[in-house]
């Protein structure tokens, strides 16, 4: 049966009962009780029934709703015989009128989980029922209605009509009831004293409403025994007392819904977790959601086999029976963390479970993201190592060319020159010509080798920096190029190399494809970023994916966390813009 249907049927039944009761009262008159008493009784009953039904509907698995409904029902049944006088109702009323108070005691101890967990509290709850039923029974068997001016037949359970015994039993019952009440109050106050902040938040409405009702009861009892008080005074205190009693079920309902509200806060938590909080913030968020400032969050460190907090301090798990409880955060069976929370929250197992599940997911997400970031960082680092290694290799090749082949060729050139100068005047002209040709060939070879070395990795870039190297590129360019600005200071070698090769490759592309008449270079280091821009006035329409040159450059720039952009609209020239972080 669905929750709604069940609650609906119960509600309909109870409303029907109320109407029947009211109609019966109207038909039979108010009996010995004035009309305002009826109104108050109906108010108290409705308050319990209404609060109970709402609680039942919102928390169908929790007994609190049903107990409230039962209390309301018991109260109405106990009050009904006031209005309809018959032997059965008289007897039932006598026996039953205190049962709702016993139910209240059970509610008090079972709140908010709906179950009584302590043995003492279970004993007190049972004692309250015994006091209500057996206590009434023990007085009823001695009660002769005639002693109160009523017909003798009203008391169906009258076994030993004896006024003395009745008074004795009644006094004993009153003493027991008062003692029991005091013990119950003491236990409840002790429970309040031990309760943590989140628990108190939930119990508070119950405690305050009961305290108010108790106070009103005491005042009403005292006032009703004062004959000097005018009748409107009696009415006022009775109304006040009944009003206070009407607040009691509302106290239970509010307390119950407060834990319900906490549960809906899990939704907010999930949204907040989506914004990937800092580890320190995460604990604050959880503490807020669970309304437990003492909450601790431990992160599982597999390498240590232990939980640590956001600061890295190991987190100790509470011992069995302490005021704190533990909720494991797991993901696919693997521990990811632990929540150490107030034991009071055990009464909200679903709430803690939901928070733990959401947090576990967030922590796992965080771990995966951290792992991903670490991998990306590793890839980035390895890419920049590859680029740096390639640069170093290019520099080495250029040096080897310079110090090896070029020097040797110059040496040969010198040797040829010396040989030539040793030739006697009038030597074989063919030999002279051969030497001359060899010398010219050597010159061309040296020249080619020099440009090859320059193309591989210009020494001027390493030694003099980006500005002179760009100037050198511009002087060699096959079209007019204006160098507008260059950085005035040296930048890290990988940055200079990347910028240089971006310009070099861009100029090569301009010469090859753009049909431009001129190009402009801007290189400037501002706010820790080097901006390099090569623009031409050519045909545009360059495709960034064409040729491996630009792609290679994009990789090279990306390895330094930089970016490269190409703007090339057909007919409007091409601009290649690279930005490279160069904080040094």
């Amino acid at each position: 049966m669905s929750r709604r249907l069940l609650t609906g049927l119960t509600a309909a039944g109870l409303v029907g009962l109320l109407i029947t009761l009211s109609v019966a009262v109207f038909i039979h008159g108010y009996g010995p009780v004035p009309w305002w008493r009826l109104t108050l009784d109906l108010g108290v009953g409705s308050s319990f029934l209404g609060a109970g039904l709402i609680a039942w509907w919102r928390r169908p698995k929790n007994h609190v709703g049903r107990l409230l409904v039962a209390a309301g029902f018991a109260f109405l049944v106990g009050a009904a015989p006031n209005y309809v006088q018959s032997p059965l109702t008289y007897t039932v009323r006598w026996l039953e009128s205190s049962v709702y108070l016993a139910i209240l005691v059970q509610l008090l101890f079972a709140f908010p989980s709906g179950r009584i967990s302590s043995r003492l509290e279970r004993f007190l709850s049972t004692a309250a029922y015994a006091d209500a039923v057996l206590g009434s029974l023990s007085t009823l068997i001695f009660l002769d209605p005639r002693s109160r001016g009523l017909p003798a037949g009203l008391n169906l359970l009258l076994l030993f009509p004896n006024q003395r015994l009745f008074s004795l039993a009644d006094s004993a019952l009153t003493s027991i009831t008062v003692a029991l009440t005091l013990v119950i109050i003491a236990v409840f106050v002790q429970r309040w004293g031990r309760a943590s902040a989140p628990a108190r938040r939930i119990i508070a409405p119950v405690g305050w409403s009961l305290a108010l009702a108790g106070l009103a009861f005491v005042v009403d009892t005292i006032v009703s025994r004062q004959p000097s008080v005018p009748s409107w005074g009696h009415v006022a205190t009775a109304v006040a007392q009944t009003g206070a009693v009407m607040l009691v079920p509302l106290g239970f309902l509010v307390g119950l819904l407060r834990s319900q509200l906490a549960r809906s806060a899990v939704g907010d938590l999930v949204i907040d977790l989506g914004e990937t909080p800092q580890p320190g913030q995460l604990r604050e968020m959880l503490a807020h959601t669970l309304r437990d400032p003492s909450l601790k969050l431990g992160y599982w460190i597999a390498e240590m086999g232990a939980y640590v907090d956001a600061a890295g301090t190991p987190v100790k798990l509470p011992e069995e029976g302490s005021s704190q409880a533990v909720a494991m955060l797991q993901h696919e069976g693997e521990p990811v963390g632990v929540l150490i929370h107030d034991a009071a929250l055990i009464e909200e197992p679903r709430l803690v479970e939901a928070v733990a599940a959401a947090t576990g997911l967030a922590l796992q997400n965080e771990r995966l993201q951290a792992a991903l970031r670490a991998q990306l960082e590793e890839i980035r680092a390895s890419r920049s190592r590859i680029v740096e290694a390639a640069d170093a290799e290019r520099r080495r090749i250029e040096r080897d060319l310079h110090d090896g082949a070029q020097q040797r060729l110059v040496g040969i050139s010198l040797a040829l020159q010396l040989a030539n100068s040793r030739l006697a005047p009038g030597a074989d002209p063919e030999v002279v010509e051969a030497l001359k040709q060899a010398s010219q060939e050597l010159s061309s070879a040296l020249s080619e080798l020099r440009e090859l070395g320059h193309g591989i990795h210009p020494a001027i870039l390493t030694e003099e920096g980006l500005g002179p190297a760009l100037e050198s590129l511009v002087e060699r360019a096959s079209l007019p190029v204006t160098l507008k600005t260059v950085p005035t200071r040296r930048l890290p070698a990988p940055v200079e190399a990347a910028a240089y090769f971006v310009v070099s490759e861009a100029l090569a592309n301009v010469a090859k494809y753009s049909r431009a008449s001129c190009a402009t270079i801007i290189a400037s280091a501002v706010d820790g970023r080097l901006l390099v821009e090569v623009s031409d006035d050519g045909i545009g329409g360059a495709d960034a994916t064409r040729g491996s040159g630009l792609r290679g450059l994009a990789d090279r720039v990306a390895a330094l966390d930089g970016s490269i952009r190409i703007e090339s609209v057909a007919g409007k020239g091409t601009t290649i813009r690279a930005e490279i972080p160069c904080a040094s």
Partner: protein, 223 residues
């Protein structure tokens, strides 16, 4: 003319020494690194030091630094840098460091003993020497509009020799022209390029090289 040679390659150094002796220079010392060179220059006070641009320990610009130190500390000693880098930047750096008696020559120029010997003599006489290949690259540089187009063939020739650091006399000797003719060519060139006449021949090379290094657009001066 007394000359010292500094190059870390024994083979090249000895080849240079032999070549210089061959053409009549008095080689009074050899150095394998910048430190030795500076000592040698102090003790020998030669007329010219022929210096490799790349020398130990870092093999970067020790030669350039040594040249700057020599020109600063021993003004009587001229320096000719031998380099394998066709970079006007280095030439400019040298010209700016001294008022004359300094030169930047590509190493391969040793295969043309006349040019090489001429360069050594010219720096000894206090001239600037810029390698013709550098001048050729600068003069041939693409620039629109190109004011060099307005120069006659002969003026262009004279401009190149000016950029190599030659004096009017040296240009006249090279082109077999009278001093007056060279002077009028120089005046024409400077006026066509909108350059101011410098008081001395020596500073003229800086103005000309700077002009030639300037890009397509005159608004930006290169570094």
């Amino acid at each position: 003319m007394r000359v010292v040679v500094a190059d870390d390659s024994t083979l090249l150094r000895e080849g240079l020494v032999r070549l210089l002796r061959e053409v009549g220079f008095d080689v009074v010392g050899q150095a394998a690194n910048a430190e030795e060179l500076l000592r040698l220059v102090r003790s020998e006070q030669p007329d010219v030091a022929v210096v490799d641009i790349r020398m130990p320990p870092t093999r970067t610009d020790e030669g350039l630094k040594a040249a700057e130190q020599i020109r600063g500390g021993s003004p009587g000693v001229a320096v000719l840098i031998l380099s394998e880098y066709l970079e006007s930047h280095y030439a400019i750096r040298l010209i700016q460091s001294a008022s004359g008696g300094i030169g930047y020559l590509l190493k391969e120029r040793v295969s043309d003993v006349q040019t090489f010997a001429d360069a050594v003599r010219r720096v000894a006489e206090g001239e600037f020497v810029i390698d013709p290949a550098i001048v050729t690259q600068l003069v041939g540089r693409r620039r629109p509009p190109n004011p060099l187009d307005e120069l006659t063939r002969r003026e262009l020739e004279v401009l190149g020799l000016m950029a190599e650091g030659r004096t009017n006399r040296s240009i006249g000797e090279k082109l077999f022209l009278s001093a007056n003719t060279v002077e009028s060519h120089v005046r024409n060139i400077l006026s066509k390029l909108d350059l101011e006449e410098s008081p001395g021949d020596n500073r003229r090379v800086l103005a000309v090289i700077t002009y030639l290094r300037r890009g397509a657009n005159s608004e930006a001066a290169p570094p």
